[in-house]
Symmetry: C2
Subunit: 391 residues, 2 copies
């Protein structure tokens, strides 16, 4: 099987890697998708991209899962004028660890996202208006079940690997527990198998900040409008948790935007770290929906791979795939200790699990930054799986 | 010298330690106080409490400095029905490390506070309305200079010791650098000598959250009204930074307030950590002013003991008092590394400086919790200073 988009990618070559997003719609009519909560949702459209060519045996597929504000545009460009390529372009492409000369890479916008897949900002067919806060609560497990529908649609029975960082890593782990026989490898990065109380705390504060913005209006706002300030502040907070004290000190220190001595005492004179965060906050507002942000945070809060499966240890022990956890030493929002704990639980149960620590001052976001250091480790793991599978 | 309140404390004995807050007003009329910024402010009323009796030589005075949301009520009770005693009552009292049988303890509400000392919530004599955002920006150094005026008023020429945690510790360090000949000891706890970029980041997010609340209204609100929701959310965020992942996991884990299986997917079903933070946020609103919160955070942002003094190292090296830094191993918002750095800078310069690390899962707030562990260390340091001074 080789879709148009796949051929497109293949034909364009590595210098101009143009990729066309695709969509897949299912759960239509009476065939609605039943969420974990019991709520029914449909139809569901999934936006996705693929890179490389699916081989005849359909044995070279790798699924990449994105993080909170990420999307299905993981590599290449959608058009030549695009400023920057997809978010993991440093790892996905010809000769890169996720080698498009060897593998068929799939990345989809998650269920409940706002970048093409059905979510709170989508039109509710029953009302003709955006779902808003009427969208049902969904979980990481639901996201994975929707990805499974896409994989089925692509005619793939078994994945070589599922990989992703942060919320992407949560999907990786849910894949491993929900469909243990469907992949040879798992690569969860800077993530958790159950959300910590600290993580829930930050998510709740971000949600409340969005809800405090009068423009939120109970979640009922016109597309493109909405609580810009609330979402921007939530993003500012998110950004702080994704970085480290060490990085901020080195990069911004105590420098101010206005260094006139008298300006030091101006209430509104910003330190450079403040300007940076405001810039990041405002930037997210341009491309992200506030209700969706809240639902995605809620989905992360509800993450516990052991829920309804006899507990955390038992669920992790049921993973059949070779698993490499990658943690970041300076990541304080998804502390390495919990990834080490998962690897230990799996090893004790006889699973093929390992842990590698990325040394970086970049904090949680190191998985989106430290490509030089990650590349050999990821390449070795991916190729090891592929060699085992004789791809 | 022995004021009424001091006698009161002495007479009531240790079982019913009742203390009366006092006030001192200065900078009246044309004698306005000139802030670091050059702005003039007056009159300034300072609310304070004292515990124990000032000796004839006036040589047994200890100044305690409070943290962001603290106040001058550091020990005892203001009336018998009061629920809990002052915030450092476990360390201040007869036979305690700050032994009121031996020492005369002073604690004042900081300049720009909202618990009795002149601040943004006070009435601006020029307008007859609360200062609000018309209050001038002040610094930790300004707070210390106002405390100096109080110390002068009490007829004390030299303090035995200045002690405090968090924002209190910042005042301790500014005391040591601003008035190096005025004390024998300094006890800065869980604090910094210059605000980190990470600390500034959190403070800015808290300020913006307050300002996002429509009830903030540019800082113009009636006393007792104001941005309750914004301040509550800011406090929730503050609380998260004062604690640790380890503590939250042990205390709240992933427990929900409604444990019915179906309630798991309710958007509004709170995890216990969320309920706890909401409770803390709402509680602060009852006793704290939002504009004041913003100004105090700004004062912390502006903290750099080296500013205008030839730099950080030179300023710290100018401290003459024996100094013991206490850091908390799990404190990630005021990381021990910066306190260790300050102690090293001082030692290299020939200062009498040491560092002790409090091992605790309580994070930054350990200085308000871990009294059993702190007591012997604080007592030993305080008594060492007092013995040296032959008090």
């Amino acid at each position: 099987m080789s879709t148009g988009a796949v051929a497109n990618w293949g034909l364009m070559g590595s210098r101009e890697r143009i990729v066309q997003p695709q969509t897949f719609t299912f759960a239509e009519g009476s065939d609605a998708f039943v969420l974990e909560s019991g709520s029914r949702l449909g139809p569901i459209t999934v936006a996705y991209e693929t890179y490389g060519v699916l081989n005849r045996e359909r044995s070279n597929a790798i699924l990449i899962a994105h993080a909170l504000t990420g999307d299905h545009h993981a590599a290449g460009k959608n058009h030549p004028a695009e400023k920057a390529p997809g978010w993991w372009d440093d790892l996905i492409g010809p000769g890169k660890p996720f080698d498009t000369n060897r593998f068929f890479i799939i990345c989809s916008n998650v269920l409940g996202g706002c970048r093409g897949t059905t979510g709170p900002a989508s039109i509710n067919p029953e009302t003709g208006r955006p779902y808003g806060m009427d969208f049902p609560v969904y979980t990481i497990r639901d996201m994975v079940r929707v990805q499974k529908a896409l994989i089925d649609h692509l005619g793939i029975e078994r994945l070589l690997l599922v990989a992703g960082g942060s919320m992407g890593g949560m999907q990786v782990l849910e894949w491993g527990v929900t469909y243990p026989d469907m992949m040879d490898g798992l690569l969860p990065i800077a993530t958790a198998g159950r959300m910590t109380a600290m993580g829930i705390a930050f998510n709740e504060i971000m949600r409340r900040t969005i809800m405090l913005d009068p423009a939120w209006n109970g979640g009922d706002y016109a597309p493109g409008k909405g609580p810009a300030q609330g979402l921007a502040i939530a993003r500012m907070l998110g950004m702080v948790t994704y970085r480290s004290d060490e990085l901020f000190t080195a990069r911004f220190g105590r420098r101010m935007t206005n260094n006139q001595p008298k300006a030091y005492f101006d209430f509104d004179n910003r330190f450079e770290i403040e300007s940076y965060l405001h810039y990041q906050g405002d930037k997210l507002v341009q491309r992200f929906d506030a209700n969706t942000y809240m639902y995605l945070c809620k989905a992360m809060d509800l993450l516990d791979v052991g829920r309804g499966r006899g507990g955390y240890e038992k669920a992790l022990a049921s993973i059949a795939a070779r698993t490499l956890f990658i943690g970041v030493d300076s990541d304080w929002i998804y502390p390495p200790v919990y990834m080490i704990e998962m690897a230990e639980i799996m090893k004790k149960a006889g699973c093929d699990a390992g842990y590698w620590e990325l040394k970086s001052p970049h904090g949680h976001d190191a998985f989106l930054v430290e490509f030089e250091r990650m590349r050999p480790v990821v390449a070795s793991f991916v190729n090891g799986i592929a060699d085992m599978r004789q791809v």
